[in-house]
């Protein structure tokens, strides 16, 4: 009995959010929520920690900046210095003003793409993957809570009774 998965299907984000608060106050753990758009305020209710994905962008960006500067130092100063319009060709520091644009662009390039790839991998969404949303309408106008009976002290029947107090559209068990 304890490994049952209960799906509570709602037709409104506000109702789901308020119901989630009610269920959590009764000691029910909500494993996940599927919705067609982000429900603002649901993260702390179901106990989701803040994502750290923004930090990865900063790290990738810094790596990009470092690669760009190292590359330009090697190409323009170390390997083949050229006198172009009398611009300094013997020191990175003196020539840095004209390296700023490429440094910036390459930093942004690495930050954006690195973060996008990290995002895909962390979400495990890549071309050809199968969708795992329990009901197809969760990408249209349905809002679904996924509750595992084993996550809380209560039995599946008790959980369902609590869900039934809220204006739920349908309770499904799998």
């Amino acid at each position: 009995m304890s490994d049952k998965t209960i799906y509570a299907i709602y037709d409104d984000d506000y109702v789901l959010l308020e119901s989630a608060k009610h269920l959590v106050s009764k000691g029910i753990h909500i494993r996940d929520v599927f919705s067609p758009f982000p429900i603002h305020g649901i993260d702390p209710v179901i106990g989701l920690a803040r994502t750290r994905i923004a930090m990865t962008a900063f790290i990738y960006g810094m790596i990009g900046v470092a690669i760009a500067l190292a590359g330009m130092w090697y190409f323009m100063i170390q390997d083949w210095p050229l006198n172009i319009g009398g611009k300094p060709n013997f020191s990175l520091i003196d020539n840095i003003p004209s390296f700023v644009p490429v440094t910036f662009e390459f930093g942004v390039l690495c930050a954006a793409h690195g973060m996008a790839i990290t995002y895909m991998l962390r979400n495990w969404t890549l071309p050809g993957f199968k969708a795992k949303n329990p009901y197809p309408r969760t990408t249209d106008d349905r809002f679904v809570m996924e509750i595992h009976a084993s996550d809380s002290e209560l039995s599946a029947e008790e959980i369902k009774a609590f869900i039934d107090e809220t204006c739920v559209l349908e309770i499904d068990e799998k």
Binding site: H22, D32, G41, V102, M115
Partner: protein
Amino acid sequence: MHKEAAIREPLILGDDVTYSKITADVLHAIEHEPTKLWKVLMTIATITALWGIGCILYLVGTGIGTWGLNNTMGWAWDITNFVWWVGIGHAGTLISAVLLLFRQKWRMAINRPAEAMTIFAVFMAGTFPLVHMGRVWMAYWVFPLPNQFGSLWVNFNSPLLWDVFAISTYMSVSLVFWYIGLIPDFATVRDRASKPVQKLMYSLMSFGWTGNAKAWQRFEEVSLVLAGLATPLVFSVHSIVSMDFATSIVPGWHSTIFPPYFVAGAVFSGFAMVQTLMLIARKAMRLEYIITVKHIEYMNIVIIVTGGIVGVAYCTEFFIGWYTGVQYESYVYMSAGAATGPYAWAFWSLIFCNFINPAFLWFKKIRTSLTATFIIALIINIGMWFERFDIIVTCLSRDYLPSTWTMFFPTWVDLGVFIGTIGIFSVFYLLFLKYFPVLALNEVKTILKSSGERYKNMSDEDFKQLHPVFKTDIKVTNDTNNKDNEETTD
């Protein structure tokens, strides 16, 4: 529930708008056979695109001598078109990134089509420097790759190389930003699709998106950070494009005002193009209740502001041309160069299209009129093309040595490639309108409760009646709990 100020006009009109109605209306084009209008436009666009591809093939096969360029006029229509297309692209990024950072909700109805425009426009822009190389197959030489000439590297001091990095970064980052927003909407199409081929295609394109809470949390964070990255990017791109001119010593180009002047001009022309496309699309797709007259008006206000900046920049250039006392500068601006020289017609077209024409938008009646907006936007598009033509051709045709003075006459290949890119752009855009979710579904749905007309007119009591949380009135015992949770939520 967060309500915004009642004084703000609603962004989604109609009393019957629900989440499923938004889905059905936005995906209508995907789920139904193409309309007659679409087929006609697609046929015209395809013929124009094929003509353009033919011209490009002829150009590459014969050489850029088929253009009207000569020793003095090393750049003319090609770079004019390049700057024009890149400029058009800027509106999309401004709407999706800068307005996201400013938390402007009206951006949500138009960011998807505007950003599609950005990406296709930047593709078209990239075509021109590429074909101008002559030997297109050697285009990879612009990248610092080890080579057989003793590893002779590209010149990182040159604005032309900065451009390579700026444009390619801009194109790929815009594409990523756009696609990340598209994934959840492709998932919506996938889950509604009934035909097997359609289901397979959209399954592939939606990357197996599930829309669970953690994914949405990451989605919002990634969108915000990408907006933060794209904002300085969009300003840097056109600044760098302007440095192609500003770092040279050609009189009329060598000017420190160029970077901000070009960025404002880019946003100005981009919004005009968004208006041109959006006014047709919203009507043809019957999405007038999501892309409302209010949206059109907001965009017109952006046009007034950026057009004003461009106007001030024109005046400044003239003032500085006179004030510096540099004879070459003042020649370009004050005498034969611009206003009275052989290209006076281009100059006065520019003044009419970009200086006088947008001034009509100061009147509320005109900026809320769809027909007037369409005409003004179209004229601005033409005017911004003339601006680049003026800067490039007028300045080059009258440089330091009168013995090198010459005129530029475009050939049919010049014209053909330009018209061809408009055709290719239109093909891309029409395909986008037919096969992609044209509006950011997931974003429009988030503002339905705060900015929808139906919800704005509703009292809190009515709202509770419409969306009751509990079946029976057991709320009394739970009220304290709810309040506690609400505090942590915010």
